[in-house]
Symmetry: C2
Subunit: 166 residues, 2 copies
DNA sequence: GACGAACGTTAGCCACACCAACGTTCCTGT
DNA sequence: ACAGGAACGTTGGTGTGGCTAACGTTCGTC
């Protein structure tokens, strides 16, 4: 009975407890949510979603691919990929043709409209990152990205069979 | 028609495009998901959730409080707080008494069982953080926490009415 | 004494990650 | 040659988490 039961002691309006403000997983969740909102809002203003951007980048960088491969490259589930590609296709950003070499697959190809779209979305994303990282110095921004990169590499999606040098 | 349409060129099995691996918001989302799974799994093994931990910490650190205030301290919505407190109450971790000074409120008090529970959960959370940050040096771990702290502070929950120096 | 605001509570919505199943097509072993 | 298993694209469904809406109660204030 260290505190008087029945009366709320402190009047400190509201402040996140110090012990919570120091837990990395919690900080990560919070900042990730902010980042997601920042990115999501800008993309939504153009009728886009982050998935669209991810797919467009994957196509632009590694060239045409099957849906399954895009799935693996972007981390988007095959199931969800269908809808994303439908929308991108409707917008004329990609073409989806049956693969003559493997009739199970579709070959997804980036169109020039898609490349233009990508450029636009890239700007928005970059802006969002800038706003997100605004309170950090350029060195800190790089530090953060590096650290997150290390963690991302270490905690692989899954390691269903050691894939690389191990 | 720079690429042969109808054939998938590279055979590179799957690799996240470099441009995606460098976008902070994306890295954050990924690492936050890993962290959440790490923490969530351990807590689930004891029938707990991260919310329980947050509430217990808030109570332990700042003393008894109303549900609304706990809401503000932890970031958990008032609506969801109800269920969390029900569970904590069922487990005997807290007491929920009407506040004699304000009959709208309940005074939430941490019991000794709750304090014991908190200690246990704290161990689990700490373990999870350790596993999460394993690939980083102690200095890097501190750096990361600091950087995330800065971002958390800057991007306030909301600022619905200029709260601070403005 | 009336009105607006805060409280606790219930119910529900929506976005997102994930899983299950199916028909098609391919690859492999025998 | 052919049977079995695996990968592909697709549809539909599940579960969880953040958030909103509304309501009755109680407080503070004018």
């Amino acid at each position: 009975m260290s505190s008087t039961p029945g009366a709320i002691p402190a009047r400190t309006p509201e402040a996140t407890p110090a012990r919570l403000r120091v837990i990395p997983s919690r900080l990560l969740a919070g900042v990730a949510a902010v980042a997601d909102r920042l990115v999501g809002d800008r993309l939504a203003a153009e009728g886009a979603h982050k998935w669209h951007f991810a797919v467009l980048v994957a196509l632009d960088e590694a060239g045409a691919a099957s849906q399954a491969e895009l799935s693996r490259r972007t981390g988007i589930y095959r199931s969800d990929m269908v809808a994303v590609l439908n929308q991108l296709s409707d917008a004329g950003c990609i073409r989806r043709d049956p693969d003559p070499a493997d009739r199970r697959r579709n070959v997804i190809t980036l169109t020039s409209a898609g490349r233009r779209r990508l450029e636009r979305l890239d700007t928005l994303i970059t802006d969002a990152q800038r706003e997100l990282l605004a309170p950090l110095t350029p060195e800190q921004q790089e530090q953060l990205t590096d650290l997150l990169g290390i963690l991302t590499d270490h905690h692989r999606p899954q390691h269903p069979g050691r894939a690389d040098g191990e």
